[in-house]
Symmetry: C3
Subunit: 331 residues, 3 copies
């Protein structure tokens, strides 16, 4: 790791843990200054630290990036992977017309529909459902209880966490005489390469054409992506966010946790949407917004700071009014 050891180099390390939870025998790391207080309190037997930390009551290893270093250690350790390479479980129901690469693993009680294609290296866990004519790219990892409906395309190296639903009907109805008549959702979903979809997240299929998630984009748990959205490459969509139908999001956009974005707008490349904000208009590339309706973040901060002063300002306004009504000269 190119690190510099300060302290006893003979301690034996049996595991890796966070600085607060680490026990004797474990290695930990300190990369966030907010946790500096824990350096001399941790029960860990050694600590990876940045090079500006000179010493501690326990052995330290000074490195350029403690977090990267601990990740490297974890890869050495190779924490036990989920079972894979097990072939097709005898209880899996695989349609004879499906095309499954030789080394694909398919777990118990999973269901693979007609004409499905699963490319090499795929791991489909227990109880996953892949509907007719869907295509799963190489080295995909599909966790238990995922639902992928019919005619969906999933790129290479995608990870889809438990309970995610890809390709359920978009929420589209016409009003006819006070009733909501279902609009057929005839489109599909296309997910690029190296995409991660969080637990219980839902990505609806398009009414026509495709709902798209671009390559390299990471989607957290409980995210709702409406029908016909097009999300760019290398975006981050945090937990509980919702993107309404037909909105287009360019590359490298960050959507904060719990944020909502209305339908039929465009979010420019590199824009950032604050947590629990609500976006009601298109955003320019690089725009950083906050609040509901979301406005440019510095403006949002000024508005909120002003709101905190408002109860006092109302008293001052009342005092001014009284002063004017009864000027000093009248007293």
């Amino acid at each position: 790791m190119g690190g510099t050891l300060v302290g006893d180099g003979a301690v034996r390390i049996t595991g890796v843990n966070s600085i607060r939870q680490a026990r004797q025998g474990e290695l930990t790391f300190l990369s966030d200054r907010r946790y500096n207080q824990f350096l001399d309190q941790t029960r860990a037997s050694a600590v990876l630290v940045t090079r500006d930390i000179a010493s501690s009551t326990r052995p330290i290893i000074q490195v350029d990036d403690p977090y990267a270093a601990v990740q490297a250690v974890l890869k050495l350790d190779d924490a036990q992977p989920l079972e894979s390479g097990a072939g097709i479980h005898s209880t899996a129901v695989v349609d004879p017309s499906a095309s499954i690469a030789d080394d694909v693993s398919i777990g118990p009680h999973s269901v693979i529909g007609s004409e499905v294609e699963i490319a090499k290296g795929g791991v489909i866990h227990a109880g996953a459902y892949i509907g007719a004519a869907s295509r799963i790219g190489a080295n995909a990892l599909i966790y238990p209880h995922v639902t992928i409906r019919e005619r969906i395309t999933i790129g290479e190296g995608c990870i889809i966490h438990p309970g995610a639903v890809i390709g359920a009907d978009g929420f589209g109805f016409s009003q006819v005489d006070g009733r909501h008549v279902k609009i057929p959702q005839a489109g599909t979903v296309r997910i690029g390469d190296d995409v991660e979809i969080g637990a219980n997240t839902a990505i609806d299929r398009a009414t026509f054409g495709e709902t798209v998630i671009g390559s390299g984009t990471k989607v957290d748990n409980f995210v709702q992506i409406g029908h016909n959205c097009e999300i760019g490459n290398h975006c981050i969509i945090c937990g509980n966010a919702g993107i309404a139908g037909s909105t287009i999001i360019a590359d490298h956009v960050v959507v904060g946790a719990g944020a909502g974005v209305i339908g039929h707008i465009e979010i420019g490349a590199g824009a950032m949407i604050g947590g629990y904000s609500g976006v009601t208009r298109s955003l320019r590339p690089g725009e950083i917004v906050f609040g509901y309706p979301a406005v440019e973040i510095e403006r949002s901060k000024r508005m909120h700071a002003a709101l905190r002063q408002l109860p006092d300002a109302l008293k001052r306004l009342r005092a001014l009014e009284q002063h004017i009504a009864k000027p000093e000269g009248d007293e």
Copy 2:
């Protein structure tokens, strides 16, 4: 369709798509003025348009309602349905006491409990769970991984999307000596006819009696409906909305995406709740509210417009105070 063709009537159409995504050979439509700019840019080979659009660089068909027209085309096309009519799959576990109509389809690995009734035309997809003594009306469509717990009633023609949970315990506890003691949730859920329940949505069973979803109501993904709620007919509940326990919602109410409604209140018929709003009091019929706490929408707009002016107003207030403290005459 009763449309008027303007342009080459000999083009061959092989599919239907949205105006931005359409490729050569596909039919598209233009019903939303926000997309007018795409009319001459689309790669579609023909465009359904409203009658006020006179011409385009590509063939157009003028109709009264382009969206309705394209829906009609889709029905002609009859996009491949999910597999149905397949009978009961050999891996389904169906309790011998269940009563299943002859033409019902039950997918692989689904589980049908004791005394369950499934009426004619039902399609129960792979891995669905229907608990003891639940009743499923005619022509219901239950997608994979749906959980319907025991003693639930689902009306005719309902569609329940993947991962939805109907009839989990309501969230009810009594505080006893600082501990939360579970209140048995002995009630059930009754869903009317022609209801749609979104992916991963949860509708909790009542503590006593029934949680009710009225006929014709459409519920989007990730909606949480608490125990003992009663939702009327023909409502729209958008994605990520949450309705707390024992609230009563009348007919034709619209709840916007991400909105929250507290428990034990009543929402009048035809009321509309804005997206990401929080309703903390009962609403009169037809009331339209926004914000948190939600207020009448015009008032909410005035409040927000005022908030945008507030940072400047505080400066003006300060200027006035200084002016009064040191009147012009003193200068």
Copy 3:
């Protein structure tokens, strides 16, 4: 029950229901003054009431706590439980290395991984998935379609509702050249005793070490708990709430519905977070906060009351400015 009967004691009771939904022959109760109006309107054949209610048009039973009394009645009634005690269903896939206590029930199509331990009294419903080396404490109740990934610890007496996902990967990525590179999530989740986890809720595994849910804590539906969070004992986390990674919540905290809490902060014991609030800083023990960013609740109320007056206040400010610009003496 120690109650005092006022009225006809000969009515025959066939069930229990809420005051608004009760039908003839059913017992109901009145414990919430908001429902007093229904006392003489209910169709119930008898009503449990508090001792201050002297009479009604129907038989009443005066008790100290009508809600507790009706709960006691329900326990007498013992509403049919979910099927249990059925042993291991023939379609369950149980790894031979798993250690399952004799009286455990395992439902159809569930999957139990290698080295899993399930202690006595456990009920694992249909289609549940328990990953390798996870340990389930005595008398746990795991509903259908729950996913518990590998190496998770679940305490005694826990109830996990349908579709919940315990131990999916935390949402952690490093930015490398504009790409998001996955950080291995090598930790796990430890859930204490007597915890309830709501339908479709997701509790992510730690990057290192453990995400912790303390004993006696109750978590509602659709709650997102990020990697490395540590939640104390006897907390209440209401529906749709989200707790971002590495946040520490002490005992007896209440998190309101839809509330969000940022990562890497500490919430003191007994703190209360209002519904749909957003907490952006650590909270002291017992602090009660509301709004976004959440502030002390009385301050939040003053801010909101002031905001309601703001449109009018801006008019008054304008009037003052005009008055000053053109003082009375000039008129």
